[in-house]
Symmetry: C2
Subunit: 271 residues, 2 copies
């Protein structure tokens, strides 16, 4: 098989990376997709950086063993701590979600007041601040960890009244001196987007770091001549989860608007 | 000097690539720029492909000798015939303007009726059609060579009544069964943009392939860790032309809104 015909790999701590896959399916309809969500060990946010690096390596190795032409680390927590190392060591192109999201926020912001919401791990890494301030030293960046958001999404309660309450309470610190641009610095958060937009108000631009990543993915597929032009084989999406295939299928089927979905349970990390 | 601090190189047959530089200055304010316009041998459009390849190599070599960290072939005619060869043979990242413009047109078009205007060389190469149809076999692409546009721009007459007449007459064949998206497939054409938009009507989306290229440039600067973060040295833009520095300075100063402009005459191609 030509490498162009191999799937693109996406990894995430759970279902969050599906927000990136959704955009990839829209913008890159010819590409095959392999997805791995480490649901059993989700959330990654509260874990020590070294453990996140280890888990991310395990996911990367699993998808590379299946055969992929490019890897998207569709998880902000993993991108923050593992992207540079993985990119340096594997021989396919690897991208994360933080640089595209930062670039897009800088384009969108008029006031220079940018806020980032993410997991504890992402916020602690300060990767967004670093990216934003290196490119544009004059912006003012605030970061807020939202540790309750990922569990709400992973338990498929992201449209519930509980979700609304949690989002409103968590984002309250941002309501004074509101940013004009808010980076959804976790790929799970776009599933909460309507609620987040409602809480923040329509005057705040939300940046979906995952969706922005697909623009970079397109650019790099072109740059490395890796586009799939073969239309003889019908397009495939395959999903792996370390957790419950049923729960994964419920969320993914709804979110991606797919009636049938090939989801396989796998085990990562030895015994 | 760290490679991050080197300038980005831009090459074009003349002043057209300045439309790309203008967008680069806006989106990438920290980057140093070296520009080479081969004004003395412009237009490239009517020249045989092999000669365009040869001239493009000469420009590439000149800028590489000055020291650049990345090269933008900011000329559609040169991109169409020389990008693959140059990209394969030089050891810095090289991008052209056709893939970004094609991608953007596919995103913008709702009806799938896409038209491309460019030089004879670009149209003859059918590179846009190939890019567009490989990615989206269902679109309908028409191409129209506009050989009179580049000379109008290079002679600094791009707002004149003559320009209006030439644009209206040249684009007449596109007025039946109008496309919804028109690719400005030559980096000179954005200087004629108001006239082109007026002729085509406000319902036609114009794609500035050069401006789109700067999005790719940002992505690749991130991907290859080539951003310039050094703010100690004030930003520099230097321009080389094989033609008249005065004419170049007049056009470039207006277009880039720069009061002073370092323009140096050089000779390319041996004796």
């Amino acid at each position: 098989m030509l490498s162009n015909e191999l799937p693109i790999g996406f990894i995430d701590s759970g279902v969050g990376g599906l927000t990136v896959v959704k955009e990839a399916m829209r913008q890159l309809p010819n590409e095959h997709i392999l997805y791995l969500g480490d649901t059993a060990r989700c959330p990654y946010g509260p874990r020590p950086a070294q453990q996140v690096v280890e888990f991310t390596w395990q996911m990367t190795q699993f998808l590379i063993d299946q055969g992929i032409k490019m890897l998207v680390i569709a998880c902000n927590t993993a991108t923050a701590v593992a992207l540079d190392e993985i990119k340096a060591k594997v021989d396919i192109p690897v991208i994360g979600v933080i640089q595209p999201g930062s670039r897009s926020a800088l384009k969108a912001s008029h006031t220079g007041e940018i806020a980032v919401i993410g997991t504890e791990g992402t916020v602690k890494s300060a990767t967004y601040e670093k990216e934003l301030l290196e490119k544009s030293p004059d912006v003012h960046v605030r970061s807020l960890a939202c540790p309750k958001f990922v569990p709400v999404v992973e338990s498929n309660q992201f449209t519930s009244p509980v979700a609304k309450k949690i989002v409103a309470e968590t984002l309250a610190p941002l309501m004074y001196n509101k940013p004009d641009t808010l980076i959804l610095g976790c790929t799970h958060y776009p599933l909460l987007r309507p609620i987040i937009q409602n809480v923040m108000g329509s005057d705040v631009t939300l940046i979906d770091s995952g969706a922005e990543t697909v623009n970079d993915l397109s650019t790099l597929l072109d740059y490395f001549n890796l586009n799939n032009y073969d239309r003889k084989v019908s397009k495939t999406c395959k999903f792996y989860t370390t957790g419950s295939p049923k729960m994964f299928r419920d969320i993914a089927g709804d979110w991606l608007d797919l009636k049938t979905l090939e989801v396989e349970h796998i085990h990562l990390g030895g015994k």
